[in-house]
Every structure is written in structure tokens, then in C-alpha cells.
């Protein structure tokens, strides 16, 4: 069993610097035993030696012996140029078994710590293990996938055998191996020669390494996408520095690897971001053509190390392929999405401007205001109109005159002013006081007669004036509706006045009689006045209910009635004052008459 393992080791070393001969079925170097012990399984076949570096070694015999397993392997071996680093199937199986010991799930990861422990058992210096890790942890995630583990293991084995570690991961060790390994290959006859120097040459041969990609070219057709993805993925890792400038923003690449949420709603910021991404994607794309170039190059430089790239392309394995596809799709989808959104964004340009704000003014509020104003105006208008309606044209004031003759005219005028008709005029002569002393009375009477809401009797100047005042006052507030009432009142008043005037028609022969008569006249006049007043008041009151009770006219009616009442009040007040004055006058006359009487009496006493 151990020998088999040795064979493993042997395989690894095609034309190693040390111990060529040792390897072929030779007892394992002492150092291997410990290592061997740490491996659990042992590949059964002795074909191992033949498997691997057959390309390097020309031992067909070995090949034939070893490659009993599969013709494919043989083909690979014959065709493989690269490979000291190629992992044979047995080896791979071995590695897989080892992997299972750590991680049962073949699709899972081996965490870094576990891997560290595992590989520390190989007794390699930490530095070298660290380097191996760097090489093998392709995606730099701190964990090893199956492929990565195999690669690491392979490198460990190689190192154990004294093989210098390459600077770059050999393509055959790239994740996703074997299947795509077949490739094309240009057999490298010089592989042997160059191989010993390969690790050294690896670094300097960056350019030739790229060309070597062509080897896998036929296979790469399958994995073209993987290339691109690899380039993206490996951009930050051990990719050729030449590409660094192109791939340069490793961050942007890696950053772009993950799906980027794209806002569907356009915005300035978003558009800028999209543009940036587009440019970033553009950056990414140039890498693909670059990657495509190497395969096109048809050199085959043996150096497996360079192949890192090629291997990436060449090898397409389940795990990494899936990754590559996903990652590959991502940029594509991203681009599509970007392209999709970009035109959309462009179309939209900018969010449509919000609908123009309704004018702050002249909306409801304004309309309301206007309405209010209109309402106000209308309201004011109405009251104004109503008010306007209120004060009808003021009738011209009658010219006050105290003469009896003109009194009649006065009365006539007054009557006329008041709107009295011929009726008053006719009655007025009857009312003419036959005595100048009773002019007042007549005036008073006239005043009383005209003491109607509409017409005001003319007694004195002030009475007349008052009448005049009152006449317009009465006329003003009154309405046509009430004019009838006024007419009635006047008629009644005139009738009363006529009745009242009939009494005083007979001029008293003596002033006493006159006085008495006047008094009598006064009384009846008073009575007349009273009744007149009462009549007036009654008339006024009568007229009030006559007012039609219309909704719109209620106010007016009430107002009119109020005014009439006020007028009647004023009239009555004036009457009162005038009567009192007349009373005073009469008293004075009485006193004078009594004095005269007393003067006359002494003579009678004689």
C-alpha cells in the first residue's frame, strides 16, 4: 500500500530534479512514510505511476501499465503537456476521500482552520503551507472546496517530494480540473526539460504562459464563460499582474460580482450609479477578450504555472463551473438590467414634474371669498337696496306760514305735502280758525288733523316745522303699502277734523267765550286730538296688521311700524308740549282777564 502511495508521489514528479529514478516504483523516501501514514486510503492501482506525468516522461511502458484504468487517462497523459501538476484520477479519488474525512459533503467547504490542521500534519513549514494555501484557495474565501482541497493536497504532496512550489497555481490544479484537462494539448516534448525549471520559470514566463492557454483551447470552448468569470474572480488573486491594470479595479469587479440592486424608479443619483456601473461593466468586458486572446495563442509553453489562466478556462468543473456561470450570468444580467433600465431611465429622463399646483388663489377659498364678497355685496346691496328703499324721496318741506289765510294754504300745502288730497283742502277752510287767537288752535287743529303718520298738522312754526319735519319723516319711512293706510288715516283724520272743526266754526263773541270755546274747542279738539290721536294710533295700528306678512317684508314691516310708532311718539310729544304751552297761554289770559275784571268790579261796587 505504501508503495502505491509512493507511486502517487512518483507520478507527481515527472522529471524531478531529485531522484528521478527513485520514483519509479522505488521505495518511498523516508520522509514520505510519515506522510503516508497520514493518508488513510491507498489507491489500489499501480497504474499510478503511469498515469500522471506521462507526458513529461516518455515512459510509455509506464503509461501502459498505469493507464489501465481508462483510455482517457492515457490520452490525457499523452496529450497533456502541462503536467506535473495534473492530478490523476486515483489521486483525485484519494483526495476526495481525504476530503470526506474532514467534510463529508463533497460540495461543502473545509474551513480554514480544519484545513490548517490537516495540512500541518504534513510537517511542511508554515510558510510553505501558507503559500500553498494562497495558491489553492482560489476564491479567497478562507475555505477549501473539493477542488481547492485537491489542489492544495496536490501541492503538498509535490512539496513533500521536494518539488518547489509554483508561484502561480498550475492550471491543472485550478478548481474544476480534470474533466477539462483533457485538452488539447500540444504535447510538450520540452516539458521535461523545462519542467525542472518550471517553478522558476513560471514567474518570468507570464507572457508565454498566456499563450499556453491555447492548449486547452478546444476544451475551452465549453468554458469560455468560465474564463471570463475566472478572470473576474481571480482578478484580485494571483492573476497575472499584466491584467491588473485592466481588471484593475479588483474591487469593482468583485463588487460587481454580487447582484446589484437596481432601482427601477429613476433618479439622478441612480442614473449616475448606473452610468458608473456601465462603465465598470465595460471595464469588465475588455478582460474577456483579453482572456480570449491567450487561448488563441498557440504556443505551448509548458509551464503549467502560467496556466493558471488556462486552467481556469480549460477546466470546467461542477462547482466552479456553476460559480462561473452564475457569476458570468450576473454581469450579463446586470448589463442587461442596466441596459434595460438605462433606456428606461433615459426615457423617463426625470420624474414627471408634479402637476402644477392649483393656484393658491382663486380656488375654493378665493371663490368663497369672492362668494363672500359677492354675498356681502349682495347682502349689503340688498340691505342697501332695502335701506335705499327705506328712505323714499323726501318730499319737499312745506313752507311754514303763520297767517291764517296762508294757514289754509299751509294746510293745503301741509296736506298737499302729506299727500293729502282735495279732501283736506276742502276741509281746511272749515278748520280755519276764526280768531287769530285761535290760530294756534286752528293750527293745532290742523296739526291734529294732519297729525297722522303720513301728514302732520301745522300748529305753529315749530309745529309746522315739526309737521314739515314729520311729514317727510313720515313719508320717508312709510311705504307705498302703507300709503293707503295713511290715506285712510288722513281721511279719518280729516273727517274728525271736519267734525271737530264744526264746533269752533262759530266764532265765540267774546274772548272768554272764545276762551271757553277755545277751551271747549280745545276739549273737543283735545278730544278730537285724542280721538284723532287714538284714531291715528289706531289707524297706525290698524295699518300694521294690514301689512302683508311676507318673509321678505317682515323686517321692513317691523321697521316701518317701529318708525311709525316713533313718529307717533314724537308727534304726541309735540302735541303735549304744544298743549302745555297753550295751557300756559290760556292761564295767562285768564289772569289778565281776572285782573281786568277786578278793575271793573270796583266801579260796580260803587
Amino acid at each position: 500500500m505504501e508503495c502505491l502511495k509512493i507511486c502517487f508521489l512518483v507520478i507527481l514528479v515527472p522529471g524531478p530534479v531529485t531522484g528521478d529514478g527513485m520514483w519509479s516504483h522505488s521505495p518511498p523516501p523516508p520522509g514520505q512514510e510519515s506522510w503516508v501514514s497520514f493518508t488513510a486510503d491507498t489507491p489500489p492501482s499501480s497504474t499510478l505511476p503511469a498515469m500522471h506525468p506521462s507526458s513529461v516522461q516518455e515512459s510509455t511502458t509506464i503509461r501502459t501499465v498505469a493507464s489501465a484504468a481508462t483510455t482517457n487517462e492515457i490520452q490525457r497523459q499523452s496529450s497533456t503537456y502541462d503536467d506535473p501538476w495534473k492530478i490523476t484520477d486515483e489521486q483525485r479519488q484519494y483526495y476526495i476521500n481525504q476530503f470526506k474525512t474532514i467534510q463529508p459533503d463533497l460540495t461543502g467547504f473545509i474551513p480554514g482552520s480544519a484545513a490548517k490542521e490537516f495540512f500541518t500534519k504534513s510537517k511542511l513549514p508554515i510558510l510553505e503551507l501558507s503559500h500553498i494555501w494562497e495558491l489553492s484557495d482560489f476564491d479567497k474565501d478562507g475555505a477549501l472546496t473539493l477542488d481547492e482541497f485537491c489542489a492544495a493536497f496536490h501541492l503538498v504532496v509535490a512539496r513533500k517530494n521536494g518539488y518547489d512550489l509554483p508561484e502561480k497555481l498550475p492550471e491543472s490544479l485550478m478548481p474544476k480540473l480534470i474533466d477539462l484537462d483533457d485538452s488539447a494539448e500540444v504535447p510538450e516534448s520540452t516539458a521535461d526539460v523545462g519542467y525542472s525549471a518550471s517553478p522558476v520559470e513560471v514567474t518570468p514566463n507570464k507572457s508565454p504562459s498566456m499563450p499556453s492557454l491555447n492548449q486547452a483551447w478546444p476544451e475551452m470552448n465549453q468554458s469560455n464563460e468560465q474564463w471570463e468569470t475566472f478572470s473576474e474572480r481571480s482578478s484580485s488573486s494571483q492573476t497575472l499582474t499584466q491584467f491588473d491594470s485592466n481588471i484593475a479595479p479588483a474591487d469593482p469587479d468583485t463588487a460587481i460580482v454580487h447582484p446589484v440592486p437596481i432601482r427601477m424608479t429613476p433618479s439622478k443619483i441612480h442614473m449616475q450609479e448606473m452610468e458608473l456601473k456601465r462603465t465598470g461593466s465595460d471595464h469588465n468586458h475588455p478582460t474577456s477578450p483579453l482572456l480570449a486572446k491567450p487561448p488563441e495563442l498557440s504556443e505551448e509553453a509548458k509551464l503549467p504555472a502560467s496556466m493558471k489562466f488556462v486552467a481556469a478556462n480549460a477546466v470546467g468543473d461542477g462547482y466552479s463551473s456553476s460559480d462561473s456561470f452564475t457569476s458570468d450570468q450576473e454581469p450579463i444580467t446586470r448589463q442587461r438590467s442596466q441596459s434595460g433600465t438605462s433606456p428606461e431611465a433615459l426615457k423617463v429622463v426625470a420624474p414627471p414634474p408634479p402637476p402644477p399646483r392649483p393656484h393658491p388663489s382663486h380656488s375654493r377659498s378665493s371663490s368663497l371669498d369672492m362668494n363672500r364678497t359677492f354675498a356681502a355685496t349682495s347682502a349689503t346691496g340688498q340691505p342697501q337696496s332695502s335701506t335705499i328703499a327705506y328712505p323714499p324721496a323726501v318730499p319737499p318741506r312745506p313752507l311754514p306760514t303763520q297767517t291764517s289765510a296762508p294757514l289754509t294754504g299751509h294746510r293745503v300745502e301741509a296736506e298737499g305735502v302729506s299727500g293729502g288730497g282735495a279732501v283736506l283742502t276742502t276741509t281746511s277752510p272749515q278748520q280755519i280758525p276764526q280768531q287769530p287767537n285761535f290760530a294756534d288752535f286752528s293750527q293745532f287743529q290742523a296739526f291734529a288733523a294732519s297729525e297722522q303718520p303720513s301728514s302732520l298738522p301745522e300748529v305753529d312754526k315749530h309745529s309746522e316745522a315739526g309737521q314739515a319735519d314729520k311729514a317727510p319723516e313720515g313719508a320717508g319711512p312709510l311705504r307705498t303699502v302703507k300709503s293707503d293706510g295713511q290715506a285712510d288715516e288722513r281721511a279719518s283724520a280729516t273727517v274728525n277734523s271736519t267734525k271737530g272743526s264744526s264746533g269752533p266754526l262759530a266764532p265765540p263773541p267774546k274772548p272768554v267765550r272764545r276762551r271757553l270755546k277755545s277751551e271747549d274747542e280745545l276739549r273737543p279738539e283735545d278730544e278730537q286730538h285724542g280721538p284723532q290721536k287714538s284714531n291715528v294710533i289706531a289707524a297706525v295700528l290698524a295699518t300694521q296688521p294690514s301689512i302683508p306678512r311676507s318673509v321678505g317684508k317682515d323686517k321692513k314691516a317691523i321697521q316701518a311700524s317701529i318708525r311709525r310708532n316713533k313718529e307717533t311718539n314724537t308727534v304726541l310729544a309735540r302735541l303735549n308740549s304744544e298743549l302745555q304751552q297753550q295751557l300756559k297761554d290760556l292761564l295767562e289770559e285768564r289772569i289778565s282777564l281776572e285782573v281786568q275784571l277786578e278793575q271793573l268790579r270796583p266801579f260796580s261796587h260803587l
Binding site: 490548517k116 501558507s130 494562497e134
Partner: protein, 139 residues
């Protein structure tokens, strides 16, 4: 490009330092050491929102007549210092940022290696490769 690149650990001892003109390294070492003061100052300046809001890229720490020193600090207080020759037509700020970004990525890769113990000098060939790529090509 860069004349000297250094990686300083959280405890302010170097994890990695390399300069192109291999002679006169001492000068660069000294420069890097003095630049740490400026870095500390900048770190402590943004004391309010530790970490997240703090910009990783510190920018030009201080220019001298011969060269300029740029700083970058990670969230784990690992500092990167790049010394650039002043005679070199001024590299744009973006370029410096990209250099730092690459450095940071490589450093992260190194850290991911289970075989690397944080605090150990960085002995990754990949990291070396990156750094070499950023160094002045004349060297």
C-alpha cells in the same frame, strides 16, 4: 509610483515594509514611523462615530520636499502607508485610492490564509507581487 509601502499593525509595529531604492531604506522606515503620529491623530480626530463613518482613506498625511506620504487605515486599525516621490508628477488621488484598495484586498487575502497568524510579518508571495506591481518600476 510608490517609493515605499508599509503595513503597520494595530500595535504600531510593522508587518511589512518595502521600499524600492533598497538603499536608503532607513530613511523611509523613519518616515513611515513618523507618519504614524499623523495617522493616529487623524484616527482620533473622528471620535464621534467610530468605525463606520470613518473614512478608510486618510489622504495625504504630510508632504515633504522630497516625497508625499499617504495613509490608509482599516477597520482593524491596520495601517497602510505609501510614500510617493514628489518629483513624480502628482498621482491623482484616485490612483492613490486604488493602490490602497489593492493593498487592502491583498492584505485581506493574506489574512484569510489560515496559516497566517495575525501579527506575523506578511510573507505572502501574492502580496509581494501586488506590492511590487505598485512600486516604482524603475527599481
Amino acid at each position: 509610483m510608490a517609493v515605499c509601502i508599509a503595513v503597520i499593525a494595530k500595535e504600531n509595529y510593522p508587518l511589512y515594509i518595502r521600499s524600492v531604492p533598497t538603499q536608503n531604506e532607513l530613511k523611509f522606515h523613519y518616515t513611515v514611523h513618523t507618519s504614524l503620529d499623523v495617522v493616529e491623530e487623524k484616527i482620533s480626530a473622528v471620535g464621534k462615530s467610530l468605525g463606520d463613518q470613518r473614512e478608510l482613506y486618510l489622504g495625504l498625511l504630510y508632504p515633504t520636499e522630497d516625497y508625499k506620504v499617504y495613509g490608509y487605515v482599516t477597520n482593524s486599525k491596520v495601517k497602510f502607508v505609501i510614500v510617493v516621490d514628489s518629483s513624480n508628477t502628482s498621482l491623482r488621488d484616485n490612483e492613490i485610492r486604488s493602490m490602497f484598495r489593492k493593498l487592502h484586498n491583498s492584505f485581506t487575502d493574506v489574512m484569510c490564509n489560515p496559516f497566517h497568524n495575525p501579527g506575523d510579518p506578511i510573507q505572502s508571495k501574492a502580496f509581494d507581487g501586488i506590492v511590487s506591481g505598485m512600486m516604482v518600476q524603475t527599481g
